[in-house]
């Protein structure tokens, strides 16, 4: 290898390193200070778990974390059922129905979240006059999540071997049974990734949540946003417990990503 190629390689590695530093610097900064007794970043105290103690001792914060998780699971579950059935139905429909439904299904995906939020709130809370409730919130989250479930399931349907379903019918299975025993197992990876995607979308959401939620209900997103935007002395303490929360979430995600990657590799090796 000549000098030029080595230099180019170094430049590439340095660039990748810099971008990674940019992506991780804020999170690592919080992670480091989450184990410190200080409430302001920049002043150094002692090594301590006080922020973690504060986080786990604050019933309001724990409640809102519980709310977030429960809402994400419920919204993802309902979206997965609705979206999987939808994807199946669309797949077996005639071309015109298929094109129409696929096009409409794209709207929440490409639309600006604020437009989705405003339009839903207008319909549900202004035109129909419903109060903002868990129901409106759930509908809001399902509107964001379900199209992504459809998008995850549809490719698996296209890869599926259609003759297996016909074979099941020929062998005497009822259409419903054939669907559950033959079709569903083939698209299960798509359903699972759709579910996971729905969970992450719901966990992440701020705008639709803030429009459709009841006033007293908070998710991590709305709680953290409100706490930072208020900006008085009382919130400085709350803000430092978010350092601990960010660190915990980061570690969980890192663990999930790593285990998923390692087990994924093992499966691939087995196939060989």
């Amino acid at each position: 290898m000549n000098k030029k190629a080595i230099a180019l390689k170094c430049v590439k590695a340095a660039f990748i390193g810099l971008v990674l530093l940019f992506l991780y610097a804020p999170i690592l900064l919080l992670a480091v200070y989450s184990f410190n007794s200080t409430d302001t970043i920049g002043t150094w105290g002692d090594f301590s778990f006080t922020h973690y103690a504060k986080l786990f001792g604050d019933s309001v914060i724990l409640g809102m974390i519980g709310n977030t998780l429960l809402l994400a699971l419920l919204a993802a579950l309902l979206s997965t059922i609705l979206g999987t059935a939808g994807a199946l139905g669309i797949y077996y429909s005639k071309k015109r129905t298929k094109t129409t439904l696929n096009a409409v299904s794209q709207i929440p995906v490409i639309n600006a979240e604020i437009v989705t939020a405003l339009s839903l709130t207008l319909l549900l809370c202004v035109v129909i006059g419903l109060p903002r409730s868990y129901f409106t919130l759930l509908i809001g989250h399902m509107v964001i999540c379900t199209p992504f479930v459809v998008l995850s399931v549809t490719p698996k349907l296209k890869q599926m071997d259609n003759s297996l379903y016909e074979a099941a019918l020929d062998l005497g299975a009822s259409p419903a049974k054939a669907l559950f025993k033959v079709v569903l197992p083939q698209i299960i990876p798509g359903i699972i990734s759709g579910f996971m995607l729905a969970v992450t979308l719901s966990l992440d959401d701020y705008i639709v949540t803030s429009y459709t939620k009841p006033a007293t209900f908070n998710t991590i997103s709305t709680y953290v946003y409100n706490a930072t935007m208020r900006g008085n002395a009382h919130t400085a303490e709350v803000l430092s417990s978010f350092w601990a929360l960010t660190t915990i979430i980061f570690i969980i995600i890192l663990a999930v990503v790593l285990t998923a990657n390692l087990t994924g590799n093992k499966k691939k090796e087995k196939k060989k």
């Binding site: 970043i41 979206g83 139905g89 600006a112 405003l118 459809v150």
Partner: protein, 262 residues
């Protein structure tokens, strides 16, 4: 009479759901945009929207912020994706995952993290527009890298070899092979970043010291007080989305920038 089970019928619940919670709400927006408080047809909002210099300048500012954000994100993400896709190291996916992982941390917590960093280095409240763009680039970078990487990964290596054999140098190969073949990724990355950077006001609120108003925030300021004006601005956004979809050819599941197919 017993109803026969039909596979097609499975899409009925979803179709009804889409009708009630996607199509009807859009129609409501159009209705509200062109009516006044007494529900009479009115072009007042439309005229007011396009004749008010402060409203128009907010929109221009927002568009400029979104353009700069998208350009910077593309300039960082393109070389990253190119290097990753062309690299010969074994654990390439692990490296890619490193770029995607931050995306799975709660969005507001991520913005809060960069807020703390900016506060620490003393920029918070000092450079509102810079902070907003920085925060958006930070938050939306994975959405650009993922579709770019996916399309570049698909480019056949023999094309690069053929280009070299035929005497193309690195620059020629880049502009005649890499760029045209990664165009779908570029377009879907741009749509994934441009629209949120016009509308996701969480970043501009938390990092711009509430001094930066983007179109999304603009809609939010009318929340509850003037649904009609809010709807007019939302309709304006809807048209932008519609036009850009025609240009980029819509969203394809293969380029799912949310990483569903990783």
């Amino acid at each position: 009479m017993k109803l026969r089970f039909s596979r097609k019928a499975l899409c009925i619940p979803y179709a009804v759901f889409l009708l009630f919670f996607v199509i009807v709400p859009m129609l409501v927006i159009v209705f509200y945009a062109f009516t006044d408080r007494n529900n009479h047809i009115s072009f007042q909002n439309f005229i007011q929207f396009f004749s008010d210099p402060t409203k128009l300048s907010t929109i221009v500012y927002s568009l400029v912020i979104a353009l700069i954000t998208t350009a910077v994100t593309l300039l960082i993400a393109y070389p990253v994706s190119y290097i990753l896709a062309r690299s010969k190291i074994k654990k390439k996916t692990v490296l890619l995952l490193l770029f995607i992982t931050p995306m799975w941390i709660n969005f507001v917590l991520r913005v809060n993290a960069i807020r703390e960093l900016l506060n620490w280095i003393g920029l918070l409240g000092e450079a509102n527009y810079f902070n907003t763009v920085l925060g958006m680039v930070y938050d939306f970078l994975p959405f650009m890298i993922l579709p770019l990487y996916t399309t570049m990964q698909k480019i056949d290596n023999s094309l690069y070899e053929a280009s070299a054999d035929l005497g193309g140098n690195a620059v020629t190969t880049f502009f005649r092979i890499t760029v045209p073949l990664s165009m779908p990724g570029i377009l879907s990355g741009i749509t994934m970043v441009f629209l949120p950077s016009m509308t996701n006001y969480v970043v501009s609120d938390m990092l711009g010291n509430s001094k930066v108003t983007i179109i999304g925030k603009f809609i939010e300021t009318y929340f509850g007080s003037d649904w009609h004006m809010g709807s007019m601005i939302a309709l304006f956004l809807l048209i932008i989305v519609f036009v850009s979809t025609i240009f980029t050819g819509g969203f394809k599941s293969e380029e799912n920038a949310r990483g569903a197919n990783l």
